[in-house]
Amino acid sequence: MKVHEYQAKEIFNKYDIPTPKEKMCVSIDEVIAASTELGLPCVIKAQVHVGGRGKAGGIKIAKTEQEVNEYAKQILGMEIKGLPVKKVLVSQVISIASEAYLGIINDRTAKKTVMMACKQGGVEIEEVARKKPEAIFKVYADPLVGFLPHKARQIGLFLYDDPKTAFACAKIAEKLYKMFIELDSSLAEINPLVVTDSGELIALDAKINFDDNGLYRHPDIELLRDRESEDVNELRARESDLSYVKLDGNIGCVVNGAGLAMATMDLVKHFGGEPANFLDIGGSSSPQKVQNALEILLNDKNVKVIFFNIFGGITRCDDVANGILVAKKALNIKQPIVTRLTGTNEDKAMDILKEAGLIFAQGMDDGAKKAIELLK
């Protein structure tokens, strides 16, 4: 789960990590009031869950009252990569002496938590990792004893020659680790971490992602979710215990299992079609779950054909069949449905569906081809 910069900074402040003086605003009037309070010039930053805000014109420095007005109007109401900007962060301007990167993740390969530092700030760290890996200094934490102070000092001394700044940075690194572990984060970044003209360290930007699997033990973090900025259908899917991602095609796919769901999309594409979505109905799927899935799928008006690809294990094919039957009636589904059902209770499923007017497929290749054929 992602949170906005302003929310991440509020969390930083709880952990005593310094951030600029700022205010989150939702209207032009609020922006004007905030700029008066913080003083001019000020920075106005769009709060959206995508990268590249600056390039898209979502970050502006306002030097006069007139500019505050103009930029507030511009940014509140613009769309960045399809997401409407409904909130902005108004911030004091910091005079920057130097910028660096400090970040922390769980390293999948090493199976350890790793702190990463880079002397360039404002960079895309994966880009640096690929092109210039030696520019990133990594320090691994021992999960059983934590992130020890001497390791934090190594980070500080890598980034800064001046010992006072280096040790101040070490303190920030320790706090960032503590926050990362306590809150089940999957990523925490200070990018850039800046040294101001007066020699102080400050987190100019903040990013925290949370491990979805850890959210059950942090109900307060779950409350930070910006439901408005999430896709309505993805949100509904999650609440129905389904996993859905919209794509741009017209063949709606309903599959049990994430790997098979991806393989089904790939197969549709392979045979020349365009998948409309990723949709995993999971294991032990009840008829109700199948109906929820179809409802979500059909909210996408591009869907012209529906392709069920079910390999029954825990999922019982007869449950899926009953779900299709009920949903077809309840939702008055007009689109043709291609079904491939194999595995547990396959025979019962065929009995249930034989009068339902569906198109049956032998195997997933056949199903994908039939779905594509129907569009011609």
Partner: protein, 289 residues
């Protein structure tokens, strides 16, 4: 022969009295697995499918000489269940349970260091050594005893590929679902090390997906050390960036962990990649025929 489990495996089922635990205990017994004990705290003394239930894994191991554990408990209790199995001294822990926080896997990995115990999973569909034993939820009827090893990050996609392999007339030695989480106990390379020493395995199929770089590391390993033929499949060629595709580990971060990148490294390291599940089975058949 086979790897990880065989007809001598003595299994304890953690969470045996739950809906999934009891159902799959029956299925595993039907396949021929020696399920010797079950554990649910507070339900000791009962029986499920004729299997005695104990309050602790230690007691179950002591009374029944169980040497492997499978975990079917809700996410909230799964981390504790893994530690309990490790402490009871079983050699293999298969965690079917999903939804464990990633940081818990970091800690479990450190806890396992130096101990004679292997974790498979979490979020694993389980392991099948064809004709010998099955641990977990994979459907037994699609397997046939044979010489193809299968390793996969997925569940149903594995069934699809196994089914295709069986339909070509070939069979499997052992099939391992390693789990779809970002940090897992046993990775592709760990399985390949075991398959290298297994005389009954003549070829291996690696079923990967988007996210992380395990497939890339695996390909380099195969090129350097693995002598048997390896075939691959990568799911998620059409997946968009920065969206989690069901599995917690199946996410393209920015531009890294894409299917295209993985296919490229596989091919460069001599692993032939199937465009479709059916292709993979055909490649294996052509090679072993």
């Amino acid at each position: 022969m086979s790897i990880l489990i065989n007809k001598d495996t003595r299994l304890v089922v953690q969470g045996i009295t739950g809906r999934d635990g009891s159902f799959h205990t029956g299925q595993m017994i039907k396949y021929g697995t020696k399920v010797v004990a079950g554990v649910t705290p507070g339900k000791g003394g009962k029986e499920v499918e004729g299997v005695p239930v104990f309050n602790t894994v230690v007691e179950a191991v002591k009374k029944t000489e169980a040497n492997a554990a499978v975990i079917f408990v809700p996410a909230k209790f799964a981390t504790g269940a893994v530690y309990e199995a490790i402490d009871a001294g079983v050699k293999l822990v298969v965690c079917v349970a999903e939804g464990l926080p990633t940081i818990e896997l970091v800690k479990i990995t450190a806890y396992l260091k130096g101990k004679d115990c292997r974790l498979v999973g979490p979020n694993s569909p389980g392991i099948v050594s064809a004709g010998e034993a099955k641990v977990g939820i994979l459907p037994g009827n699609i397997f046939k005893k044979g010489s193809v090893g299968v390793i996969s990050r997925s569940g149903t996609l594995t069934y699809e590929i196994v089914d295709h392999i069986t339909k070509t007339g070939l069979g499997q030695s052992t099939c391992i679902g390693i789990g779809g989480d970002p940090i897992i106990g046993t990775k592709f390379i760990d399985c390949l090390e075991l398959f290298a020493k297994d005389d009954d395995t003549e070829a291996v199929v690696v079923v990967g997906e988007i996210g992380g770089r395990d497939e890339q590391d695996t390909a380099e390993y195969v090129k350097k050390y693995f002598k048997k033929p390896v075939f691959g499949f990568i799911a998620g060629k059409t997946a968009p960036a920065d969206k989690r595709m069901g599995h917690a580990g199946a996410i393209i971060s920015g531009t890294s962990g894409t299917a295209a990148e993985k296919v490229k490294v596989f091919e460069a390291c001599g692993i032939k990649v199937g465009e479709t599940p059916a292709d993979v089975a055909r490649f294996v058949k052509d090679k072993l025929a």
